[in-house]
Structures are given as structure tokens and as C-alpha cells.
């Protein structure tokens, strides 16, 4: 589900030729000679929402990373006298406790760590696969390209979540790493399409032609000339994949086919709170809000990165 959102997001970026002023009005505009990276960095730092989101994200990630030191309680150890406690500052149960007295603030911290960890593996694995497959298809074209594109078309005919559920159920997910790799091996299609498109257009460009004429090897052309020019979309996609992976992993874990207890994951925590939604409302609320916060921040950062890398969006 969310993989397609990522894909759609990138198509939005392509569709957004928001030339606010008719190009004719600006033809004479002199472009300052900043490199693409300097320009992108400058534009990203000016993007207030993206920068704020980035700071919040870093804080959340750091808190999750150092959960062992920050969490007031162990994630599995119950605080028996304080069972079913609503959120309170006394006793440091900021997110309350469940029926057997486990502290939900601590559980959320550890759950965040698991979920973020999974999401980063997913993003890394899928980015590597996506770049390789998309690059090969785009650079060599022909039959390989055709086969790849038909395959991704075919994958689109079956709900992504269904494929994931089948794989997780039968290959036995459970541990975070297994879940991460199952997701990672399925998340690459969107990026592969983007990379393929970029490679297809770049390989026709003059500087690539020139490198070919000069006798550069394929690998040199790919790694020196083409890949650096596709880094923008790749980075944006990898960022958005982290958000998508967090959401999909949470859904899988919630349904019982992803990360499974005793590993704490945000989806598992929400599933645990499902039965007492109206009585112990905090159980499902805080892990859910944490997912929303992380996904929202990543999406804003991704949006900022996209604007930053998009040469078309120079005009306010």
C-alpha cells in the first residue's frame, strides 16, 4: 500500500512543473553558478518545515537508539503495583501501563527502535536492489528492460500487502531482521522504475556520448557519469521508503504477521492495546502517535529534499 504511495509521490514530483511564472517571463533570468549540490543544500536548509521535521526525527531516533539509558523501565518487566495506570509523571509512566503493569513509555521507546531499525534495513536493501535493477534496465535497455518492466507491471496486479502477508506467514517472519529482509526484497520496484527512467534519459545525453567516444568503460560511465546525476531522486526515494516501511511493518506486525513478541515493535504494541481501546486508551494511542510523528516528519523531510533537488522549483 505505502510502497505505491512512494511511487505516486515521485510521480507527483515529476508532474509538478510548478512554473509559477510563465517560462517566458523568466527566460532572461541569470542562474547563479552554484553547483547542484550547493543549490540543493541551500534550498533544503531554507525549507523550514523540512528542517524542523529533521530535528524532531533526529531527537526521536536518538531517544530510540539510547532507549537502554533513557527508558525508565525495562520493556517487558511489569511494575505490578501500578497496573493499568493512565499516563502520569509520578512514577514516570508517561504513556501509562498495561494490564500487567508494563510501562508503555519504555515499550514505545524500544518499539520505536525496532521499527526504525527495520525501516532502515528495508530502505538500504531496497535501494541497493532498486538501483542495480533499475540501472541495468535503463542502461542496457532492450530485452532486460522489457522483462523488468513487465515484471513490475505484473507485481502491480496483486495487492502488495497480500504478497507481503503470504511471504511473512509462510517464510516465518517474527524477528525484526527477517521482517526487514522480506520487506526489503519487495520494496525496490518503485525505485527501480525511477532509476530506470533517469538512466534511460541520461544515457542519451551528450556528456555520456562523449565519454563513450573517449572509450570509457560501461562501469566508469555508470559510476562516474550517470549515477551521480541520479542521486537526488534516489535519496528522496530512500527517505520516503523509510516512512513507507515503518507503516507497512507496523501493519504487518499489527496483523500478527510481522515482528512478533517478545520483540517490541510499534505495531505489536498497538495490537496489544486493541482490546482495551476505551478503557486503557493510552495503550494504542501513544505508539500510534509515535508512528504518525515519525512518518509525518520523514514525509516532510522527503518533500523538502524533493523540492531541493528539483531544478524546476526555483521560483517561489
Amino acid at each position: 500500500m505505502t510502497d505505491q504511495q512512494v511511487r505516486k509521490d515521485d510521480e507527483i514530483a515529476e508532474a509538478q512543473t510548478q512554473a509559477v511564472i510563465d517560462s517566458a517571463h523568466l527566460e532572461g533570468l541569470e542562474i547563479k553558478s552554484l553547483t547542484q549540490w550547493q543549490l540543493a543544500r541551500r534550498k533544503f536548509f531554507q525549507h523550514k518545515l523540512a528542517m524542523t521535521s529533521l530535528v524532531i526525527l533526529l531527537l526521536v531516533f536518538l531517544a530510540a537508539l539510547f532507549a537502554d539509558f533513557i527508558a525508565p523501565y525495562d520493556f517487558a518487566e511489569p511494575d505490578v503495583p501500578n497496573r493499568s495506570s493512565p499516563p502520569t509523571f509520578e512514577g514516570q509512566h508517561y504513556f501509562g501501563t498495561d494490564k500487567i503493569g508494563r510501562d508503555y513509555f519504555s515499550r514505545t521507546l524500544f518499539g520505536t527502535r525496532t521499527s526504525v531499525y527495520v525501516a532502515f534495513i528495508v530502505a538500504s536493501v531496497s535501494t541497493v536492489i532498486g538501483v542495480i535493477i533499475g540501472g541495468v534496465a535503463g542502461y542496457y535497455g532492450g530485452a532486460i528492460d522489457n522483462l523488468l518492466m513487465r515484471m513490475t507491471d505484473l507485481f502491480l496486479t496483486i495487492p502488495f500487502l497480500a504478497i507481503l502477508l503470504v511471504l511473512s506467514a509462510f517464510l516465518g517472519a517474527g524477528s525484526p531482521v527477517r521482517v526487514a529482509f522480506i520487506l526489503g526484497f519487495l520494496f525496490w520496484t518503485g525505485l527501480a522504475r525511477i532509476v530506470r527512467g533517469e538512466f534511460l534519459s541520461l544515457r542519451e545525453k551528450e556528456f555520456v556520448e562523449a565519454a563513450k567516444v573517449l572509450g570509457a568503460s560501461d562501469s566508469r560511465i555508470i559510476f562516474r557519469h550517470i549515477l551521480p546525476n541520479t542521486l537526488g531522486p534516489i535519496i528522496v526515494n530512500a527517505t520516503l521508503t523509510v516512512a513507507a516501511a515503518i507503516l507497512v511493518e507496523a501493519a504487518l506486525s499489527f496483523l500478527g504477521f510481522g515482528v512478533q513478541p517478545p520483540f517490541p515493535a510499534l505495531g505489536v504494541l498497538i495490537a496489544d492495546g486493541q482490546d482495551s481501546l476505551t478503557t486503557l486508551w493510552w495503550l494504542a494511542t501513544f505508539p500510534g502517535l509515535t508512528i504518525v510523528l515519525i512518518a509525518l516528519c520523514i514525509n516532510f523531510v522527503g518533500d523538502g529534499l524533493r523540492d531541493a533537488f528539483d531544478p524546476k522549483q526555483r521560483v517561489k
Binding site: 511564472i21 517571463h25 523568466l26 533570468l29 517561489k316
Partner: protein, 342 residues
């Protein structure tokens, strides 16, 4: 002389961008009289298109902003009229033809319906049948063969030249008093350009309109225009009759444009390009905006410090150069370099 049908006075238009304020149009004035063709010449970004778009309220506000000026249509200021009043003027009184016929027609509607719409929006009583009949006549007038069949075709079934003819038919539909053609031939094949210019002439004769011919192509100006306004960096730098401008230019930029124009005379000639690039319209150079590219300005303090006013250099011939009379000398010097007589 007749009263001008369209008169632009001291128009100033700016755009806000992330990189600063773009001074797209900076105090532009020119007149168009009934039946005559005013050629407006300049490089891209000189503000020649923005001027007319602003006049018709077709620029986006914001980021655009009209800072100053008047646009007198038959003596009445139409600049800043509300949308509904402007709407009644567009096409009915002042019609436009755009640069790229490939993208200027809506791909999802029949060409005929798009032309007929121009008639229908300005006449509540017109029936669809009558509009169709009139449209077919218009298509015939602009030289579209089989107009009745062509009416029901979509833009992608038209060639570039045919689409531009359809755009001209649309522009002349309501017999406007002013026709504005914004680079009407730029996007077309050279062989088609001449045909479209012929159709433009037909349109001007049919409607008796005053025409504004916006172009960067001096050849088109020579072919079509009675008078010429030369624009540079959002300002008018020279204006006069087409003969005066071509034979007796009073601004080095105009001279530069002509020197960089290839001509088929049988002899091999050197082309003399204008050095440098058009200036950034965000930060114009001080003094005369053209001075960094002007050979005449070398070593002259005045050119670098004082913005030259547009003043009459000879009767009916305006120039915004501090040294309008030296242009002829410069022309001779350059002619000796290139072997080209101005």
C-alpha cells in the same frame, strides 16, 4: 495622424521570485494606430511579451505585480479593470496569437469548437449553428482546406502551420481592433513561416486592426512592420519607422541586432555577434543597461552611471542612447569589419 487604438504608457511590471524582484517591464511606452503594424523587437527576457500580457491582465498576480502605468484602449485605461470587464475586452477588442501553436490549443477539444467558443462567449444570442458557420468561414479565410471537415478535428490532427492558422482564425473571430501576435512564427518551420505571415496580413486587412508583432526576428519586422519598438532589459531603447530603424539606427543595441543577422546577398560575410549575454533582470547593471556589451561605451563614465532617457534623436525617431549620433560612425566601422552595409 489617427488616434492610437492602443497606447501603452510607462508600464512597470515586476515579479517576486526566490532570487529577488524581477523588473520584467520598466517604464515601457508605445502606441499602435489602426491598420498599422508595430513590431516589438528584443531578445528573450526583454519584457516584450510581459508588456502585452500585463495589458490584458494575463499575468499571474502574485507573483506578478503591476507597479505603474496605463494601457489606453481607444482612450480608455484598461489596466487594472476587474476580471469581468477585462474578459469582455479580450478577443472581442484585443485578440492574441501565441508563440507555440502546438501547446496553445486545448488538446481535448475540437479545433472548431475552440474557435466557435471565442464567438459564443462574446455573443449570448449566437446559436451554435451560426457559430459553426462563421467558424468554417474563418477557417476558410485563413487557408485551412476542407474547413467543414477540419472543424470536427482535434489539435493533434492538425499540422503546426495549420494550428497557427486556426489560432489566427480564433484571434480574428470577433473583428478585434487590436491583434497581438507574440512570436507567431518562431515555433514553425521556415517554409511555413512565410505562409503564416501572409495569413497574418490577411487577418490584419480583414479586421482593419492595429497589430502588435512581437518578435526577435528582424526579418519578420522588415516584412511586416510599419513602425518598430526595440526593447532591452525591460525598457524601450529605440523606436521609429521601420525604414529609420533599419537604415539609420540610433542605438548600438539595434545596430548589434542587425549586425548579427545573416543575410543572403551572394557574398560571404562575417557575422558580428553582440558580445556578452542579456543582463540579469534582477540586478541590472548601473547606468545604461546595455553598456557592458556596448563597444561605444568603452571608457565612458556617463554610460556606466546615468540611465539614458528615451528622447527624440531625429524627428519621429526615439533613442535611449547617450550618443545616438555616433551609432552611424560605429556602423561604418563595423561595416568595414564585416563587409556589410547597413
Amino acid at each position: 495622424m489617427t488616434e492610437p487604438v492602443l497606447s501603452i504608457r510607462d508600464l512597470v511590471v515586476e515579479f517576486d521570485t526566490t532570487d529577488g524582484v524581477v523588473h520584467a517591464v520598466d517604464g515601457v511606452s508605445y502606441d499602435v494606430h489602426p491598420g498599422e503594424t508595430m513590431g516589438v523587437v528584443g531578445e528573450s527576457g526583454s519584457g516584450k511579451s510581459v508588456t502585452v500580457m500585463a495589458a490584458l491582465g494575463l499575468i499571474q498576480i502574485p507573483p506578478g505585480r503591476i507597479v505603474n502605468g496605463e494601457v489606453l484602449y481607444k482612450g480608455r485605461n484598461i489596466l487594472g479593470l476587474d476580471e469581468d470587464e477585462l474578459r469582455k475586452i479580450r478577443n472581442k477588442e484585443i485578440a492574441m496569437i501565441f508563440q507555440d501553436p502546438m501547446t496553445s490549443l486545448n488538446p481535448v477539444f475540437k479545433v472548431g469548437d475552440q474557435i466557435a467558443e471565442a464567438l459564443l462567449v462574446h455573443d449570448d444570442k449566437l446559436t451554435d449553428d451560426a457559430a459553426r458557420k462563421r467558424t468554417v468561414d474563418l477557417l476558410e479565410m485563413v487557408g485551412v482546406p476542407n474547413p467543414d471537415r477540419r472543424f470536427d478535428q482535434y489539435p493533434h490532427e492538425y499540422s503546426g502551420g495549420m494550428r497557427q492558422r486556426a489560432m489566427i482564425a480564433m484571434a480574428m473571430a470577433n473583428q478585434p481592433s487590436v491583434l497581438i501576435a507574440d512570436e507567431p512564427t518562431t515555433a514553425l518551420d521556415v517554409t511555413i513561416q512565410a505562409q503564416v505571415l501572409e495569413v497574418m496580413k490577411v487577418a490584419a486587412e480583414e479586421t482593419g486592426a492595429g497589430t502588435v508583432m512581437i518578435t526577435h526576428d528582424l526579418g519578420v519586422v522588415a516584412e511586416m512592420a510599419d513602425r518598430v519598438t526595440v526593447m532591452y532589459a525591460g525598457r524601450v531603447v529605440e523606436s521609429g519607422t521601420v525604414d529609420e530603424i533599419f537604415h539609420n539606427p540610433k542605438h548600438p543595441y539595434t545596430l548589434g541586432l542587425m549586425m548579427s543577422l545573416p543575410r543572403v546577398t551572394g557574398e560571404m560575410q562575417k557575422l558580428l555577434p553582440i558580445p556578452g549575454n542579456p543582463p540579469s533582470v534582477i540586478s541590472l547593471p548601473p547606468g545604461c543597461a546595455f553598456h557592458p556589451r556596448c563597444r561605444m561605451s568603452e571608457g565612458r563614465e556617463l554610460c556606466r552611471t546615468k540611465v539614458p532617457e528615451l528622447v527624440e534623436a531625429s524627428p519621429g525617431h526615439m533613442s535611449a542612447c547617450h550618443f545616438p549620433d555616433e551609432v552611424a560612425i560605429e556602423a561604418k566601422r563595423e561595416a568595414s569589419v564585416t563587409g556589410l552595409e547597413v
